[in-house]
Amino acid sequence: MPPSLHHPVDILRFNTCGSVDDGKSTLIGRLLYDSKSLMEDQIEALERSADITGGGQINLANLTDGLRAEREQGITIDVAYRYFATPRRKFIIADTPGHVQYTRNMVTGASSANLSIVLVDARAGVIEQSRRHTCISSLLRIPHLVVAVNKMDLVGWSEARFLEIRDQFEEFLPLLDMKDVQFIPISALNGDNVVDASPHTPWYNGPTLLGHLESVHIGSDWNLNGFRLPVQWVNRPNNPHDPKLHDFRGFSGQIAGGIVRVGQKVLALPAGITSTVQEIWTYDGPVQEAFCPQSVTLVLAHDIDISRGSTIIGLENLPGSSTELHANVCWMHQRPLQRGKKYFLKQTSNTVQAVVSEIEHRINITTLEPQAAPTELGLNDIGEIRLRTAKPIVYDGYATNRLTGSFILIEQGTNATVGAGMLKAPREVVKPENADYVI
């Protein structure tokens, strides 16, 4: 039964990764099918295409492979998003393809995920792709990892084989700083341990995949230390009917970290001026406090020069502010990243020009070991680089805050999104005492 959802539930975002034939799309189809999230017309459509192209066999992968080329070639070429709900949780799935050339899509799908499912074919065991996907999940700091050992039916439901694969993983997991890892033996094709516990794995006492997805704790995945409001839009009513609004000047944005309270002292950057929060305006009425990731409008006690791209921060747990940046970057375009080339860098609501001052090394994404300094980074490479920006940006290390520690690079001219960056922790933080005056 789909849930009626009369009580509030939370959302878990997860992505699935594996190589071409590991059965990702089949797994998602199975999750939807067995949790009764599929509707009759969707099943009908599957049956229609089974009769036409599949020799009568329903292909659950056709549920997610939505584009013509994908169905023709039997591949997934892009990130597909799927939605389903149980009475306990709502789920957003990013189905990301496993081919080497689509690593950029995996980064895309994983960037907002709470949890990653890495699929492993029980017959093949841990292959380079599995290590690559796990390493990318680790680099992106996805808090939870599930290793789904699939096609267990094809290895005779062998516990020994399952443990062997788990051992292969555990050999390299300690290098990756992944805290929460769950191994689950499944058969996506037949549904074993996906939604319902399998009769074939009496030796396995853990949760089913869905059971785990429903219960994994995600309450602390947002950063509540260190208030950050990247200003998206200055809210100034033009011709307000209400005379009280004549002087209204609010700063609208989504809180990217921490908590803000009325009366709190804040610092506006890059203006470098402190003020006090006079009002937290929302459409539903003023509130006394607000927290990450709520969208709010702040009214400050002083008239300060703040515009889109400015950041309003609290005076504790301070961020860095610099034009010299050090970051891991995942390259997403055919034209390589080159030293000396200029890009637009977008971080929070701020877009600045940036030049690549150094490529320090490429990261081996199957071991996370640095390799000797390359002259450029190609499509799907991940590397450590230094950038210089035209204006200082206000940021945290990605490990501390995914929202203020991430950026994208945009190619000038084509406007293509070419890179995804994760900033290293700032070497020094903003010093508010130097800026502590009020106009």
């Binding site: 892009d78 939605y83 839009w233 209400d242 609208s252 637009f344 977008k346």
Partner: protein, 300 residues
């Protein structure tokens, strides 16, 4: 769970507000597509939440196919007036008269013809961005759509060459003549939309609720009898208690038999539903890639 916790609707809401404000911050001439349907009703409330106490920074735009349910247009006009928003309506009929949209011989549906009408409106007002209420759960070509969906100077979507969207960082840069379609409700489901309508106490057009209507049975669906859809001789016409689940053109929107006459009833009905929302849209059934093909040509 701490007190600093958002439930799923609050989570979807803050994500959508963030997207709306990115549009206001990054584009010079955005428009918000408002049909009066349930998704765009949510979109308007989210715009209020994003931009109040200021005026909405976008006009509302609607492409009137001439085959709309009259109740929908009445609602659309009233809501725009209530908000003090500027409403721009461009009609497929006018586009046909001007030769902007050319029907194929015998083409009755206005589905394809709304594409050139929309593109002409974008050109007329030099809109650089259109905010729409499309959701990824509606259809599988939509499931591949980005929040910020880039369209070239022909209005075309290239699904194989989309900009990767990482974290909540949206690349909104376009060159002159190009256009962005932005979908703040990307992550919403049909259930989320109705739960939001309930939480926000939003008014919706009366046709979403149970009412009596003359219906004719065609291709397994009950279609509403109207001037542009008269019953053929020997056709089975009945007066039924029905409602619409999704609103398309009046000649292609299947009605569902339903006693649901409140938002609570609708939510209970969806929770028990065994077919998807678009199961009642003939326009999506014409081929497996019907939506993909329309989107590539510039459709929403």
């Amino acid at each position: 769970m701490s007190n600093y916790h958002l439930d799923h609707l609050q989570h979807l809401e803050t994500e959508a507000i963030h997207v709306m404000r990115e549009v206001a911050g990054e584009f010079e001439r955005p428009a918000l597509l408002f049909s009066g349907g349930k998704d765009s009703i949510c979109l308007l409330r989210l715009a209020e939440k994003a931009f109040r106490p200021s005026e909405l920074p976008t006009p509302l735009l609607n492409v009137d196919t001439g085959h709309h349910f009259p109740e929908l247009n009445v609602f659309r006009d009233a809501r725009a007036k209530e908000l003090g928003a500027k409403l721009i309506v461009r009609r497929v009929e006018d586009a046909i008269a001007k030769g902007v949209a050319v029907p194929a011989p015998g083409e009755i549906s206005r589905n394809r013809l709304q594409i050139p009408t929309l593109l002409a409106a974008i050109e007329e007002f030099r809109f650089d961005c259109c905010i729409g209420g499309a959701r990824r759960d509606e259809e599988k070509a939509r499931a591949k759509e980005r929040f910020f969906s880039f369209r070239d100077s022909f209005g075309q979507w290239d699904p194989k060459n989309q900009r990767p969207e990482i974290w909540n960082l949206y690349n909104a840069r376009i060159n002159p003549g190009e256009n962005m379609r932005v979908f703040p409700l990307s992550n919403w489901t049909e259930m989320d939309v109705w739960e939001y309508i309930r939480r926000e106490k939003l008014a919706v057009p009366t046709i979403y609720f149970s009412h009596r209507r003359q219906c004719v049975r065609r291709q397994g669906q009950w279609l509403p009898v109207s001037d542009i859809l008269p019953p053929k001789p020997n056709e089975d016409v009945r007066e039924l208690v029905v409602r619409v689940r999704t609103i398309g053109d009046i000649i292609s929107t299947g009605l569902v038999e339903s006693p649901a006459d409140s938002v609570d009833d609708i939510i209970a009905e969806i929770a028990a539903a065994r077919v998807t929302e678009r199961g009642s849209r003939a326009d999506d059934k014409s081929s497996e890639a019907a939506m993909e093909d329309r989107k590539k040509a510039g459709y929403f």
